[in-house]
């Protein structure tokens, strides 16, 4: 039986941020993931609040947003909390593969659906996407890579598009990780760059699916830019997300180097609660159940996709601690009339309500477990998908939860 200062449950961006923050404060940390978490499903860029128009200063916009949404997770962290958490995140990604904001406001980046999507921080491999103009851009897809349809993307973006045959591969199904791995090879990406150059008709920008290498994406970008003479950018594609995988690997590398303990693959199967405090958790790896104890816990298990919230027939539950979940009063009110309702479906506001210290509270506002904090998208009163605030909420609340947990 092991004892830790802090156990983080959840291995997405919120959990990893919390674990890294705590390790940085000298704590002995265990991070428990249900698999690899959700970073390969998102994690392409860092959204803070896509709702804010690009011309608005992000600090002002979020400060106003907080005033209008006092229950939103950002109201717990404040703009200062977001700012320092984002600065810490950026510290983990030094150049050449760094994350930058292009100005004071959101930028619009092309997506794999051929739309423009607002975001705040972009990795260096996507930055040029913000500057592209349709007339000067060539969208490149790869034959056999089904997760990125270059023709559709170029049609919607009103750019010219080509689909290239890849050296060494025929028409067989290629996965994004396979392509990214090939791109890490200098000779391969040089040949790809050369075939793109032959297709160019004076374009100044080249858009490619986000598969520009797992190990050294900045070097892949550099090679492609020097061979083509154009600015190259990645466009997010269907999961598994290569940029998300890069973020996960960087966190894992850092956490293991600093001595964090990982458990991946088996979810928390039980908790030990006594006198309003959590004393430990169980992890079941059949036929064994291991026990881990800690002084503090952070719950960062996400919503439905990550397994942090669970929809039963008539209600939504939080399966680890059984913490009360804020939710529509009955199943009939979970969804709006139309699937693509511009207003978020009410179920997308469900989650765990906390006090200012990020400790979950019940309907009467009483703290449920004194040494448990919640972070990330499991928190109630946000609509991360519609607002485009997922990474910002994860990073800011993960950071704050760890600071508050260790201060207690």
């Amino acid at each position: 039986m092991k004892r830790f200062d802090l156990i983080v449950i959840g291995i997405g961006l919120a959990g990893l941020t919390a674990a890294r923050t705590a390790i940085g404060m000298g704590a002995k940390v265990l991070i428990v993931g249900r698999g690899m978490g959700a970073l390969t499903l998102f994690g392409n860029t860092v959204d803070l609040l896509g709702e804010i128009p690009p011309e608005t200063d992000i600090a002002e916009g979020i400060t106003r947003w907080i005033a209008a949404h006092p229950e939103h997770p950002y109201a717990r962290t404040g703009w200062e909390g977001i700012e320092s958490a984002i600065a810490a995140f950026r510290g983990l990604f030094p150049p050449p593969y760094d994350f930058t904001a292009s100005g004071q406001g959101n930028v619009l980046l092309p997506t794999g659906a051929g739309t423009m999507r607002p975001t705040w921080l972009t990795p260096v491999t996507m930055a040029a996407g913000a500057a592209m103009t349709p007339a000067e851009t060539l969208i490149v897809g790869f034959r056999g890579f089904k997760d990125f349809q270059g023709d559709t993307v170029s049609l919607h973006l009103k750019c010219r598009g080509v689909t290239l045959s890849l050296p060494r591969y025929g028409l067989e199904g290629l996965s994004a990780p396979a392509l990214a791995r090939l791109m890490d090879e200098t000779s391969f990406r040089e040949r790809v760059g050369e075939s793109i150059r032959q297709q160019m008709a004076g374009e100044r920008f080249i858009g490619l699916p986000a598969v520009l290498g797992l190990r050294e994406p900045a070097a892949v970008l550099k090679t492609l830019e020097s061979v083509t003479g154009a600015r190259v950018f990645e466009i997010p594609v269907l999961p598994p997300s290569i940029p998300g995988t890069r973020i996960f690997h960087r966190f894992r590398e850092e956490l293991i180097a600093k001595g964090a303990d990982f458990r991946m693959g088996h979810p928390v199967s039980g908790v030990m609660v006594k006198d309003g405090r959590c004393e430990g958790i169980n992890i079941q790896n059949p036929p064994l159940v291991a026990e881990y104890r800690a002084d503090r816990f952070i719950l960062a298990t996400g919503r439905f996709l990550g397994g942090g919230l669970w929809a039963e027939m008539d209600r939504i539950i939080e399966p680890v601690f059984g913490i009360p979940v804020f939710q529509p009063e009955e199943r009939g009110k979970w969804f709006g009339e139309r699937f693509f309702d511009p207003e978020a479906h009410p179920i997308h506001r469900a989650g765990v309500v906390t006090d200012a210290d990020l400790r979950p509270v019940d309907a009467a506002g009483r703290v449920v477990l004194a040494n448990v904090r919640a972070a990330g998208s499991i928190l109630a009163h946000h609509q991360a998908i519609e607002e485009k605030s997922r990474e910002g909420i994860d990073i800011a609340t993960g950071f704050l939860a760890a600071k508050r947990a260790l201060a207690s």
């Binding site: 698999g35 690899m36 990780p177 999961p239 598994p240 293991i256 180097a257 036929p287 291991a290 996709l305």
Partner: protein, 441 residues
């Protein structure tokens, strides 16, 4: 047929897969070859169309190495590798297994004999003609280094050695076939380190754990091996803890005997099984070090084998190694070594194994370590083959860093134990055969 002999019913529901493709980001095989569709498709995707009554059509299912990384990354808890394994078993049950596969999974049987005549067998296995024959007849790839056999075997060494004055708490050791006949020093290191911690080591009767049989989808054979081990280990070690030094044997004993193979008594056995580094770390955590480590000022790279990750116990070897003063140790950032046990020995899979291993090889090249440490014999073989560096089990390095008295004396003891086993006649036979071998190309 008794109850436990019945094949496990397939009860896991593929629809819990949400098709998120996280497993595709981690699968070492699908990222190097489009011939394998990846865990999402091969596991729950194809599972929806599989029927016990219909013939298997999954021609690519045999390309799964059984590393189980997909299980460790799946956010939905889909037993992907188990689905693949059962599908592979069905496919190979229908198509039949090659003589090569029959032979390779029985290395525990011929290993003892090969070790006995290692002086003869080892040079023979290096002969080009022999490798060409093995390649042509059995499709065992001639580019793969075959592991050398060692004599005396670990078991024999343990029996014939002069055991130190015991009296400490007793712990049992499951050494595994490869330690017994091909890497006896790993076993010796385990025994020495445990004894240095004041423990008395016993070696209960044991057989191959059966994981090579799982690799070729032979569930029945694996269950047979498992039943023998469970019976023997439970009988001899009731109340004792058992440590294992091979993470693949350990995974098989601890997590496959019960949940997958439904062997009676497996759950009780699992409660007593510990990885050697996990066990030593626990001793240190409860404040029973009893040993101090002397400084080893070298640069080491540690690789976490796939099956270690499936054991889901963290990285105990890395934690232990960090206790060794002066040792600069860091983790190799790579998913898999590629060998996949017997997988990488097979001619039709050699190229895949090499391609997977390339990532690890490049990671090592960037780190420039003096030595590589990893818990799995397969990984050690593959990393030696790819890098040419010295590759040890972490416990071997821990043994070397033990502060202790008669180091020279112990070395002498080992040497004597080795010499005691070679009779004059055997030496004569060996020298004759070696001369004959000289005439082979």
């Amino acid at each position: 047929m008794t109850k436990e002999e019945k094949p496990a019913p397939f009860t896991k529901f593929p629809d819990i897969c949400v098709r998120c493709a996280t497993c595709m980001a981690a699968c070492p095989v699908s990222r190097v070859t489009p011939r394998f569709p990846g865990p999402k498709q091969a596991g729950p995707g194809a599972q929806r169309f599989r029927s016990a009554a219909e013939a298997s059509v999954d021609d690519w299912i045999d390309l799964c190495t059984g590393c189980r990384i997909c299980d460790t990354v799946c956010p939905a808890g889909v037993p992907i590798s188990e689905m693949n394994l059962l599908a592979k078993a069905k496919y190979l049950d229908e198509r039949g297994r090659s003589f090569r596969d029959w032979l390779l999974v029985r290395s525990d049987l011929f290993g003892e004999i090969a070790a006995r005549y290692s002086k003869l067998v080892n040079p023979l296995m290096k002969k080009k003609a022999v490798r060409w024959l093995l390649d042509a007849l059995l499709r065992i790839d001639r580019r793969r280094d075959l592991p050398a056999y060692e004599y005396p075997t670990f078991r024999r060494w343990f029996r014939t050695r002069q055991a130190p004055e015991g009296g400490g708490p007793v712990v049992a050791y499951f050494y595994g076939c490869f330690t017994n006949t091909n890497e006896t020093d790993v076993g010796k290191a385990v025994v020495e380190v445990l004894e240095a911690h004041g423990l008395t080591v016993v070696v209960p009767p044991q057989r191959c754990c059966g994981i090579p049989r799982l690799g070729v989808g032979d569930l029945r054979g694996a269950r047979k091996m498992g039943r023998r081990n469970v019976d023997s280990l439970l009988r001899t070690v009731r109340g004792l803890d058992i440590v294992f030094s091979s993470t693949s044997c350990g995974l098989m004993l601890r997590h496959e005997y019960g949940p997958l193979l439904h062997i009676t008594g497996a759950e009780e056995l699992a409660q007593h099984l510990f990885d050697i580094c996990e066990y030593l770390l626990r001793l240190h955590e409860v404040g029973k070090p009893a040993v101090t480590f002397r400084s080893i000022p070298i640069k080491a790279a540690y690789f976490a084998p796939c099956h270690l990750r499936s054991l889901d116990m963290g990285l105990p070897a890395l934690e232990l190694l960090r206790l060794v003063p002066g040792l600069d140790v860091s983790l190799i950032e790579a998913e898999c070594c590629g060998l996949g046990g017997l997988y990488g020995f097979k001619r039709e899979k050699f190229a895949i194994a090499e391609e997977i291993g390339k990532d690890l090889k490049e990671a090592v090249a960037r780190m420039k370590p003096d030595i590589i440490l990893t818990d799995c014999e397969g990984c050690r073989m593959q990393i030696r083959h790819m890098t040419g560096l010295k590759v040890l089990h972490p416990v071997q390095l821990l043994r070397d860093s033990l502060e202790r008295r008669g180091t020279a004396q112990q070395k002498g003891l080992l040497k004597r134990a080795g010499q005691a086993c070679k009779s004059k006649n055997v030496r004569l036979v060996i020298s004759c055969v070696r001369r004959v071998c000289l005439f082979l190309p």
